[in-house]
């Protein structure tokens, strides 16, 4: 028969209480940590956020070099059905209703910081990389098209039919949604998106790509020097693509 030793009992009680106290303190510290810490996204924002400046004053009339380069890079061969063919970039022609002033500018996924497409996607297939690039996970997209309804920029396309000859770096498949991905396959290797490269090669230099957070980048410098706007700035989406001269 065992008897309870009062000394052991009280030692146990002290140990138990200490453990509870420590656990409480630890969880409290953890909670404070969580409350004080920047989110993962904010933390990486301090490092890199890819973005683009479109200098509309340098966009040549009728020029589609960026669009052509994008189509070639991603293998976007239309099927001759403009209503359902995919477009990652399109040139939008503007005419001021009161002054008649005309201009043209490329519009693509604006890689929003608070992207509506990411918010509404039921499966999380629409997601924002930590470097700010908004992408579609082609393996988890169920083709509901809710993101297309939610995108203010009409930047997304649904693949309406069977595809052949896809580019290895741009996996595309019927029944899923896609959009400009800032040519991540190039950017991740230190390159620039195909549209930016083509624009520079043709001597327009209307597109500047770079790190929005890097004070040493050309993009950062130009954004400091030139007034720029975001399309639908009223929505407060903090887009990664900015425009000068709209």
């Amino acid at each position: 028969m065992t008897t309870s030793n009062p000394a052991t009992h009280s030692r146990r009680a002290v140990l138990k209480k200490s453990a509870v106290l420590l656990a409480g303190l630890a969880s409290g510290v953890k909670l404070v940590d969580l409350a004080m810490a920047a989110t993962k996204l904010e933390a990486t924002d301090q490092l890199v956020r890819w973005g683009m400046l479109v200098d509309v004053t340098r966009c040549a009339d009728g020029c589609t070099d960026c669009v052509d380069a994008c189509n070639t890079e991603h293998g976007l061969h239309g099927k001759g059905r403009p209503l359902t063919d995919a477009q990652y970039i399109r040139v939008v022609n503007l005419k001021d209703k009161s002054t008649g002033h005309t201009s043209s500018l490329p519009v693509m996924c604006q890689h929003c910081e608070t992207a509506p497409c990411v918010d509404v996607c039921p499966t999380g297939a629409s997601f924002r990389r930590e470097d700010g690039v908004v992408l579609v996970d082609k393996h988890t997209c169920i083709g509901c098209r809710y993101c297309m309804l939610a995108c203010p920029y009409k930047a997304r396309s649904f693949i309406h039919e069977n595809l052949t000859d896809q580019k290895p770096m741009t996996p595309r498949g019927k029944g899923t949604v896609e959009s400009c991905n800032f040519c991540t396959h190039r950017v991740d290797r230190g390159g620039t998106p195909a549209c930016v490269e083509a624009c520079a090669e043709k001597g327009h230099k209307a597109l500047v790509f770079g790190d929005l957070n890097d004070p040493g980048s050309e993009l950062y410098r130009q954004l400091r020097e030139k007034p720029s706007v975001q399309i639908r700035e009223d929505l407060n989406l903090n887009t990664g693509v900015r425009y000068h001269g709209v």
Binding site: V91, V92, K95, V118, V120, C121, G124, L149, S157, I231
Partner: protein
């Protein structure tokens, strides 16, 4: 109060099987066209990169919204203590489940990748109202199943009220969620408003009441059609619910017309939208609201034929209304550059056209048929219908 005896559907055997054969044909037709759409891709439909949600969504949302509304009959009995509806509470629960199932089948079969349904059930983005709706739909089915169990089990009678309350709250949240699918869309002039949530709740109430009336008339249930008092109650319900839908719709359009940013959209929908404008005025306002209200008001408003006709017209008008909300909201182009004329190869600045194909109609009708056929099958097997009290007395 008299004890209600429940029976299975037994009469009109030939007619029953004719109906079932018709619905089976429509279901098979819907399944074939679902396969056709998935095999060829959505380019064979009227949907495109401008109108991304089309006729299947109109049907699916109609069925989902009606599913929660049709549960009202049970709620009126067990939550609001109106014994007149008690006899039909079981059937209302059954229809709530089958209508929801029909709507979800149409919705899922329209997906670009319906084979990835398992992904939709296992990967959740909890910021998405769409993901929340998946929980709301499955939860609704579970709650209503428990509700039905309580109604069927004599020993559980006391539990009917609390479970009924839970189901009532759930159905309100469900339709709030469905309306919010559009309400949270900041990109579109037609959406981006909280009033779409109460509008969908009101639509669920009116569609649910109207559908229940039409369904019971089609069943030729003399226990229902011969009950003048109950018909009168449905008449009152319809009047109130239809007025609620009309009032909220009116507020929606007035606020949109008031706001300079959405005024052009309102001009389009109310005046210049072609078929959409016709559907709004002639379909929703005239056939779906004014004619039913005229038929139901005054003496003779509770006559069986008037209640039936009003209900049928309201369903037709409601479908037209949903078409205007869903298609019209997408047809009007998103305004990226205010005060600028806009054009592009991607149809910027252009009113998008939409011509639904037979494939989309088939998918929508297939979902509707599935909902009705499933309910007809179940009421033949299980005692969901109250015995005709007039004849048994």
């Amino acid at each position: 109060m008299k004890r209600i005896t429940y029976i299975t559907l037994a009469h009109n055997c030939r007619l029953y099987w004719m109906w079932m054969a018709g619905f089976a044909a429509l279901i098979l037709n819907g399944l074939y066209f679902a396969w056709y759409m998935e095999h060829h891709g959505h380019w064979v439909t009227g949907m495109n990169n401008q109108i991304v949600w089309g006729l299947p969504h109109v049907f699916a949302i109609f069925l989902i919204v009606t599913a929660s509304g049709v549960l009202n009959v049970a709620s009126l009995s067990s939550v609001f203590g109106k014994p007149a509806y008690k006899a039909w509470a079981r059937l209302s629960g059954l229809l709530a489940i089958t209508l929801l199932a029909g709507g979800l089948v149409a919705l899922v079969l329209d997906l670009g990748r319906p084979d990835r349904l398992i992904i939709a059930m296992t990967h959740y983005n909890f910021k998405s109202i769409f993901a929340w709706n998946i929980f709301l739909y499955t939860g609704f089915v579970l709650v209503v199943l428990v509700y039905l169990w309580m109604m069927f089990e004599p020993g559980m009678a006391k539990k009917v009220t609390p479970v009924g309350r839970a189901a009532f709250v759930w159905r309100i949240v469900l339709t709030t969620g469905t309306g919010s699918i559009f309400g949270v869309i900041i990109a579109r002039q037609a959406y981006d408003t909280v009033i779409l949530a109460p509008l969908f709740i009101a639509m669920s109430l009116s569609f649910g009441a109207a559908f229940f009336v039409v369904y019971l008339f089609a069943l030729r249930q003399s226990a229902f059609t011969g009950d003048a008092e109950l018909l009168g109650k449905f008449r009152n319900l319809l009047i109130h619910f239809i007025c609620a839908v009309f009032l909220i719709t009116l507020i929606f359009h007035i606020t949109k017309a008031w706001d300079v940013a959405t005024r052009d959209f309102e001009r389009f929908i109310l005046l210049d939208g072609g078929l959409l404008t016709v559907l709004l005025w002639a379909g929703f306002v005239a056939l779906g609201v004014l004619v039913p209200l005229l038929l139901l008001s005054g003496t003779g408003g509770a006559s069986p034929n008037r209640v039936l006709l009003s209900s049928a017209l309201h369903i037709a008008g409601g479908l037209a209304h949903l078409y205007v909300i869903i298609i019209g909201g997408q047809a009007y182009p998103s305004v990226l550059f205010p005060n600028k004329e806009v054009s592009s190869s991607f149809h910027d600045g252009v009113i998008a056209g939409y011509s639904p194909t037979f494939a989309e109609l088939s998918l929508g009708l297939g979902g509707l048929s599935l909902a009705i056929a499933a309910s007809l099958l179940v009421i033949r097997i299980l005692p969901f219908l109250p015995e005709n009290r007039a004849s048994s007395d």
